[in-house]
């Protein structure tokens, strides 16, 4: 087996098939990055998986999962003003959480340098929106590099780190989902380790670092000056590519993954426009773009999501009075979704039809396949919780969801979740819905990692302002959805054992009077507790806990002594009430056309949480396979 961790630390140059998220770790090592921080969120958590493969004592940098993206940004900032090159990474919407700190970074003299890696998600593959974070980069005067594939991820991180260290400014490396996860053979350079300089280099004379009153203006002028300088540097940046097909009529300006989609559709259509592919996409290389505009009759701006580059280029053409026809976004659909080769072909067809690859017609014959929504895993404690909570609530009660695996409770047959916003928002939203409301109880769900991330302020607010809501804390001991990262109540951080901060102790410390706590597999007890909790006037919390069974089963299977188990159904006793398959709805149960129910041996983990759901007691105790 290849040792990928050893490879990442190789002194010699090498090439290997890796995903973008792994390539960036080698770049961090080569760039001599010293402090790396994050909060887990797709599409970036595999960066941490690659780091985790390297033994803590061998890592040439410090890494932590912080409690949220804002704290992670602050830790990286602190390290940078102390002289260390730092990096923070998180998902698209993580930048909203980090924003209060992030927008200030451009004002600061970051003497060590700092790279902010954003995992944007065009296509909303695993996010609650597909926000274009280039807007926030503009807001904070922060340059952005955007790679198209893993090889570029590696090169652009190095370029971002160099620029950041040269001008002492933050620089963004903007990745998108299928750049993070794309796999290709990447060539890496040699690496010579250098001992870490342990001198705390912080000096107020490098500042000011206090953006207050009149000090704000010189700091803002410095940020704008830097931005201006970066734009001029971008004109000469060798990473920008011009594909000159000697086509003086049609030119295309693009960047990132849409560039590759464009090449695919052109390879099929045989179209040969000139292409200017940018590496640094903010601030734009004004002269380079001016030259491109003036040398073409028509230019298409091919950019995913919002029309940021298009607006800037149109402004540039207007100011410099360049006679060129600029094609940009035409309709709402050009603002929506990922720019795959199919999407790009569709857009090209509307501008220069001869350049677009023909879409394939649908198959002549089709079969209707039932949709497959995501599901909670077999044995998931959340399933038992939702099944039990549902028995305790009225149809008219309001159920506020939050982010995590438990978000999936919104789906049938549970329908436990009617509104969703973002991390930790459920208690705040619930509080608002409880006002002028005497008839519909408000129940909010919240996960344990989210509790620490952004959940606590909403809880304190509910106490402080005496809101009448019930919080159900879905505690599974881990950050499950993003790949089982430890959190403050796990008893481990990324690097070592640590004192647990139990969710219950925090609630008690805050003065929550009504706390119920039960393992979710005790479904009747949980139902009773929720009934009791919602009857309380004021704020009550039910801690509905059960270890993440996906994580637990993976750990169990690794043990020599592991014995696989599964339940079975006594067909003579089964009265076809179908509670197991249709109400409890564990994916393990199979519904036959004649109404008989079976157990899928591929899926059952033998946890037995289903036994109590059967009114006929037909589900048999789990037995060894």
């Amino acid at each position: 087996m290849k040792n990928f961790a050893d490879m990442l630390l190789s002194r010699e140059a090498f090439s290997e098939i890796v995903m973008g998220n792994t390539a960036v770790v080698r770049a961090m090592i080569e760039a001599k990055t010293r402090v790396v921080t994050s909060y887990p969120g797709s599409p970036t958590p595999e960066i941490a998986s690659a780091i985790a493969g390297i033994k803590p004592e061998d890592r040439p940098f410090y890494f932590e999962f912080s409690t949220n993206e804002k704290v992670a940004t602050e830790v990286a900032y602190g390290a940078s003003v102390n002289g260390h090159l730092s990096t923070v990474f998180f998902k698209s919407v993580g930048l909203n959480v980090a924003a209060d700190t992030f927008v200030q970074l451009g004002l600061m003299n970051l003497i060590g340098g700092m790279v902010v890696i954003l995992g944007d998600d065009p296509g909303a593959n695993s996010s609650q929106n597909e926000q274009d974070n280039r807007h926030l980069a503009r807001l904070s005067y922060t340059p952005i590099f955007e790679p198209a594939d893993p090889q570029e991820v590696y090169h652009y991180y190095l370029a971002a780190a160099r620029l950041s260290q040269q001008l002492h400014i933050p620089v963004i490396l903007r990745l998108t989902t299928h750049v993070c996860h794309a796999k290709q053979k990447v060539s890496f350079a040699a690496w010579q380790p250098v001992p870490i300089d342990r001198t705390p280099a912080f000096d107020v004379n490098n500042g000011p670092y206090m953006p207050l009153t009149s000090l704000v203006f010189p700091m803002k002028r410095r940020a704008l000056n830097n931005l201006h300088q970066v734009a001029e540097m971008n004109d000469k940046d060798q990473l920008n590519r011009l594909i000159d097909n000697k086509n003086r009529r049609q030119g295309i300006i693009t960047f990132g993954l849409p560039f590759l989609s464009l090449l695919d559709t052109l390879a099929e259509s045989g179209g040969k426009p000139d292409i200017l592919k940018l590496a640094m996409i903010y601030p734009l290389p004004n002269q380079l773009i001016t030259d491109f505009l003036t040398s073409h009759e028509e230019v298409l701006i091919l950019e995913e999501l919002d029309d940021i580059m298009e607006s800037e280029i149109k402004r540039l053409a207007f100011e410099r009075q360049i006679r060129v026809k600029i094609h940009g976004k035409t309709d709402i659909e050009s603002w929506v979704g990922e720019y795959t080769a199919d999407k790009v072909a569709g857009l090209l067809a509307g501008v220069w039809p001869e350049m677009a690859a023909k879409p394939q017609p649908a198959t002549a014959f089709s079969v209707s396949v039932p949709p497959r929504p995501a599901q909670m895993c077999p044995g998931c404690g959340h399933r038992s919780a939702f099944h039990a909570v549902k028995q305790a609530l009225k149809e008219t009660d309001i159920k506020v969801a939050d982010i995590g695996c438990h978000t999936l409770g919104f789906m049938p047959p549970y329908n436990m979740g009617q509104l969703l916003m973002c991390m930790g928002a459920s208690t705040g939203i619930g509080a608002g819905m409880s006002l002028f409301n005497d008839s519909r109880r408000v129940v909010c769900f919240l996960g344990d990692s989210t509790f620490f991330h952004a959940g606590i302020p909403g809880i304190i607010n509910a106490l402080f302002n005496k809101h009448n809501i019930t919080l159900i804390l879905m505690e599974n001991g881990t950050t499950a959805m993003t790949g089982h990262q430890d959190h403050a109540a796990s008893g481990r951080n990324f690097n070592q054992e640590t004192e647990r901060i139990p969710v219950r102790s925090v609630l008690e410390g805050l003065g929550v009077k009504n706390i119920f706590e039960v393992d979710t597999y005790q479904q009747q007890k949980l139902t009773d507790m929720v009934k009791e909790a919602v009857a309380i006037e004021g704020f009550a919390v039910v801690i509905a806990k059960h270890a993440c069974m996906l994580k637990l089963m993976r750990e169990q299977r690794r043990k020599e002594s592991f014995q696989a188990k599964m339940v079975s159904i006594d067909q003579k006793t089964c009265n076809k009430a179908h509670v197991c398959v249709s109400a409890f709805a564990c994916p393990t149960f199979v519904m036959h056309e004649d109404g008989t129910v079976d157990v899928n041996p591929d899926l059952c983990i033998g946890d037995g949480s289903c036994l109590q759901t059967c009114p006929a007691k037909a589900i048999q105790r789990p037995e060894n396979r």
Partner: protein
């Protein structure tokens, strides 16, 4: 060389990541340029997971376009039809492992399960080559992906990839008992 596009799919938890990475690395071992991408995140919890592999000198984006896959590999019966309808090109090949993980609407009696016959009829009418794989004596259901891989190798569904390339790729990604068990199964099924 015309690009060779492979679209793989299954249900979260079936082990699509391993089979996909083995094929990608086997192509590399065979000296071919290959790129790919997997889905991660939310869908892994019992939803549809997919993986794209593109082989050839002139491939750019790692994503396979709709109805341009030369080969669709599915670890599950429903997903086999869904993926073939959406991704398989004319005269393409579908290879799938014949197990059914019923989607929620089937378990709620709101939709019909896709049958083996429906898959066969669909492929016949669309003129797709069909390879149905099932192995009844698997030591562990999580080895269905290796049974499928063996069928892909045995039927030479990815041109230019020899048995040794698949074996080397498996050796890159696994070790110890896991490698031994998977190699043993793979070799037994390839030589059958």
């Amino acid at each position: 060389m015309k690009p060779f596009n492979i679209y793989l799919c299954g249900v979260g938890g079936q082990g699509i990541g391993l089979i996909s990475e083995i094929i990608l690395r086997a192509a590399d071992r065979a000296g071919l340029k290959a790129i790919g991408v997997d889905t991660h995140g939310l869908a892994q919890r019992g939803g549809i997971v997919s993986s794209h592999i593109r082989i050839g000198e002139s491939v750019h984006s790692p994503l396979v376009s709709k109805r341009k896959a030369d080969l669709v590999i599915s670890l599950e019966r429903h997903e086999a039809v869904r993926a073939a309808s959406e991704y398989l090109t004319e005269k393409g090949s579908l290879v799938y492992y014949n197990t059914s993980w019923q989607p929620l609407p089937v378990r709620l009696k709101k939709a019909q399960e896709i049958s083996v016959q429906q898959v066969a009829d669909f492929c016949e009418k669309c003129e797709y080559k069909l390879f149905e794989v099932y192995q009844k004596d698997l030591p562990d259901p999580r080895m269905q992906n290796i049974a499928l891989l063996a069928a892909i190798c045995r039927n030479n569904l990815v041109a230019g990839l020899a048995t040794s390339h698949y074996e080397q790729a498996m050796g890159d990604l696994m070790s110890g008992r896991m490698l031994d068990a998977n190699l043993q199964l793979f070799n037994r099924l390839v030589s059958n």
